[in-house]
């Protein structure tokens, strides 16, 4: 950290700028100028195959860098409103031009991902958090590594593979990726290119398998056997939809290899609004409003009731929406975990009520 940044973030300067921060003044000079707030300028937006886009950004000096596998809160302003989502870093850490990128698959209902795909232009300033997440490679990468991903869960894994390749890693790396079809796959060209390197790239198209593919269908323990992978001795990273993670987790648990597995859920599963537990009443205690539980997340139900709770990523990462639950049971939409304690703090963007629930909102 430079001496200027150190001075600007020091306590005496904070006392002079109180009750605001020094960034409140610096950003008036230039939007990228900030001592603590991470901002980045979009350098390039690459439209990938399969409705995906890669946004290449140059961050300001407040950015502390990332470890491959981490994600970042990405905020972009559209018509006066800042929309924040969490995206995985997809670029190599060894990149020399001080840029990094995130890759996003445009979701049909995803406001931000659609915006990135269609409208984001180079030069735009975006609002970031520092890189977060502990789904990262260890400092000393073991000799054999399995990286498995499904669908858009490929992005953090892509960053890992690229970094390993660029930093001259010599061990065996197996990259097992599941996509619905070749047309649906992100990074097709880059994967084709990677396949020619030392990395062992295996792609499985679950719906439209390639003729003569060595393995097919959804993840199965036979896939590992076929690739000659012994789960108990292979450090494994898996990122993707909940279904893929569940089957990999169960397989590893059965084989007694659970300690070799690192997991990252990637997509918030869509909530089944007709589920049997969508009963009871959801009460917003502070606003004195009650609504019939629709089965959607508490955040969505609060918004439907006319409330405007704070939120950030809407996928259970950033903690912006965390509030107190006074009573009742809730189910985590990603992990399925049920919490029924009173007076606990929950992230309302990933919790659906089961029966009567009362929250401090």
């Amino acid at each position: 950290m430079g001496i200027i940044r150190k001075t600007l973030t020091s306590r005496p300067v904070a006392a002079l700028a109180s009750p605001h921060t020094v960034d409140h003044y610096l950003e008036q000079i230039h939007p990228m100028l900030a001592a603590g707030n991470v901002r980045a300028r979009v350098v390039e937006v690459i439209r990938e195959t399969g409705d995906a886009s890669t946004v290449v950004m140059r961050p300001n000096g407040a950015w502390k860098g990332f470890v491959p596998g981490q994600h970042v809160q990405f905020g972009v302003e559209v018509d006066g409103t800042r929309r924040v989502r969490v995206f995985s870093v997809s670029s190599s850490r060894a990149s020399k031009d001080k840029t990094f990128s995130v890759s996003v698959k445009a979701h049909p209902d995803g406001y931000v991902s659609q915006f990135l795909h269609r409208e984001l232009t180079p030069g735009t300033v975006v609002f970031l958090s520092q890189a977060e997440g502990d789904f990262v490679l260890p400092r000393d990468v073991p000799d054999h590594l399995l990286l498995a991903s499904g669908g858009s869960g490929i992005t953090p894994v892509m960053s890992m593979v690229r970094t390993l390749r660029d930093s001259g890693h010599t061990g065996r790396v197996t990259f097992l990726h599941y996509a619905r079809s070749r047309a649906d796959e992100m990074f097709t060209a880059q994967l084709d290119e990677l396949a020619t390197s030392d990395v062992e790239v295996v792609r499985v198209y679950t719906r439209e398998p390639e003729p003569g593919a060595e393995i097919a269908g959804r993840f199965h323990v036979d896939h590992l056997k076929h690739l000659g992978i012994d789960p108990t001795e292979t450090l494994t990273y898996v990122c993707g939809p909940a279904g893929l993670i569940a089957s990999v987790r169960d397989t590893y648990a059965e084989l007694g290899a659970a300690d070799q597995l690192r997991m990252e859920y990637f997509k918030v599963p869509s909530v089944d609004a007709d589920a049997a537990d969508a009963t009871g009443t959801l009460s917003f205690d502070d606003a004195a409003i009650e609504t019939d539980n629709s089965g959607a997340t508490i955040l969505e139900q609060a918004e439907a009731a006319g409330l405007k709770p704070e939120f950030g990523c809407r996928m259970g990462v950033c903690n912006t929406c965390a509030i107190k639950k006074n009573s009742g049971a809730v189910r985590h939409v990603v992990t399925g975990e049920i919490c029924a304690d009173t007076d606990e703090t929950i992230k309302i963007c990933v919790q659906v009520p089961i029966g009567d629930v009362n929250v401090a909102l």
């Binding site: 006392a15 002079l16 409140h24 008036q28 018509d79 006066g80 004195a288 409330l307 709770p309």
Partner: protein
């Protein structure tokens, strides 16, 4: 878990709040009686009151649906102007050797503090810009350049004052527990000094706002807990330390660098400039705020009148309980658009720059229902406030209007006993059923 259904009686008013820190308005419910409130019956019928409420709801919704880039750009322009004024002002007061720059610096710093407290702070803390999802203008996070901590001010202002506007015994802003500004307030001896007290309050207004938020009176009356009171005190002390450190210690200390150039008194000049800038802000905010609710013809209400009120009645109470100040555009910005006090009280959570536009709709409705739209120049409204202070400072002849007369004491005792009897009766009927 059926308690959620029985704990609260649902208010007849629909949710309106844009943000959790601005939980207004919850209606006053009379637990013993379902009789609708009587507010507004002098002007219209219950049906008309409902229609009035629906019409104003429609105005609000129209503005909310239209919020966008231009509103975001506006508040950012104001913030930019505020920062520029503040930085230039701080530079100016570092030139005590050049009086024109020094005086301009004091004025600019005063304007910066006014913008920070009014058009930015007051409005942002109402949640007017929460829809932008920008932490810089987020109502829950914003802290202003004022010794009153934002959290306690928001409770007293956004919630108490904006929900129970001008209801005696509920809105603590009627005379701020210091002045007698309305005939229905009980008179005490200190009110003889209404005008001089108001003048002193004007000079130290930010400290008055801070003290008001500590709620010592509420604690002494047993209305808030000791823990709540001490937390308020602690927050106030913390904020005071920060503000005093900045304006009266840190910046004057920086002025030590000027001593070789200017002389030993340079830090004192900077300290003095900060004091004057704070007083400029105090005077201005006091004048604007007193003109919002205290001119003649602004109505106040009894708690019984407002119990079980409808949305339309809530709107009407806001309209009858506020007064506007006319002026040109820069004047409105400096008042934080509180010169549109009526519109602000009807729609506290829509961006204040929309008030002039909304005022046109409000005036049409005022005409339609034969109401009175209280507005006037700053000088007219101020003169009216001063007259009110003078008139209501005099000892009334009616003993029931004198707070510590035997008649008033007997009346209060009777009310207390009646309330206790009701609680007892309710408890007994619950036990028997």
């Amino acid at each position: 878990m059926a308690f959620t259904l029985t704990k609260k009686k649902n208010a007849p008013i629909k949710p309106k709040s844009a943000s959790q820190h601005n939980a207004a308005p919850l209606t006053l419910i009379n637990p013993f009686n379902d009789k609708p409130a009587t507010i507004g019956l002098d002007y219209m019928t219950y049906e008309q009151l409902d229609e009035f409420g629906t019409e104003l709801d429609a105005v609000r919704q129209r503005v909310l649906d239209d919020l966008g880039q231009k509103d975001a750009d506006y508040i950012r322009r104001v913030i930019r102007a505020q920062r520029a004024a503040e930085v230039l002002g701080r530079i100016g007061i570092f030139m005590p050797f050049f009086p024109p720059a020094f005086i301009a610096g004091i004025l600019l710093l005063g304007v910066a503090k006014i913008l920070d407290n009014m058009e930015i702070g007051h409005n942002v803390m109402h949640g007017q810009y929460d829809w932008m999802n920008d932490p810089m203008v987020n109502g829950a996070r914003f802290e202003w350049d004022n010794v009153a901590p934002a959290q306690d001010w928001k409770h007293g202002h956004n919630y108490i004052h904006h929900t129970y506007t001008n209801i005696h015994g509920m809105d603590r802003d009627i005379g701020y527990n210091l002045l007698r500004i309305d005939g229905d307030q009980p008179w005490y001896g200190t009110h003889r000094f209404n005008l001089p007290l108001a003048f002193v309050l004007m000079m130290v207004f930010e400290w008055g706002v801070m003290y008001h938020g500590v709620e010592l009176d509420q604690y002494l009356q047993g209305k808030i807990s000791k823990a709540d009171f001490q937390a308020r005190k602690k927050r106030a002390m913390k904020k005071i330390r920060k503000q005093v450190l900045k304006d009266y210690v840190a910046w004057p200390l920086l002025g030590l660098a000027l001593v070789p150039v200017v002389g030993w008194w340079a830090p004192l000049a900077i300290l003095g400039a900060n004091v004057v800038a704070n007083i400029i802000r105090n005077i201005w905010t006091f004048l604007i705020i007193f003109c919002g609710h205290f001119p003649a013809e602004v109505q106040t209400f009894a708690e019984e009148d407002a119990q079980n009120e409808s949305r339309g009645q809530w709107y009407l109470r806001q309209l009858l309980g506020s007064a506007n100040i006319s002026g040109h555009a820069p004047f409105h910005v400096l008042t934080g658009n509180l010169s549109y006090q009526i519109e602000h009280h009807l729609f506290p959570d829509i961006p204040a720059r929309r008030y002039p536009e909304v005022a046109e709709d409000v005036k049409l409705l005022v005409e339609k229902y034969g109401l009175h739209y209280n507005t006037g120049r700053l000088s007219k409204q101020l003169a009216s406030v001063a007259r009110q202070l003078a008139v209501y400072g005099k000892k009334p002849s009616d003993p029931y209007k004198i707070g510590n007369s035997p008649e008033s004491k007997a009346l209060r005792r009777a009310k207390r006993e009646e309330a206790a009897r009701r609680v007892e009766a309710a408890r007994e009927s619950q036990l028997t059923s």
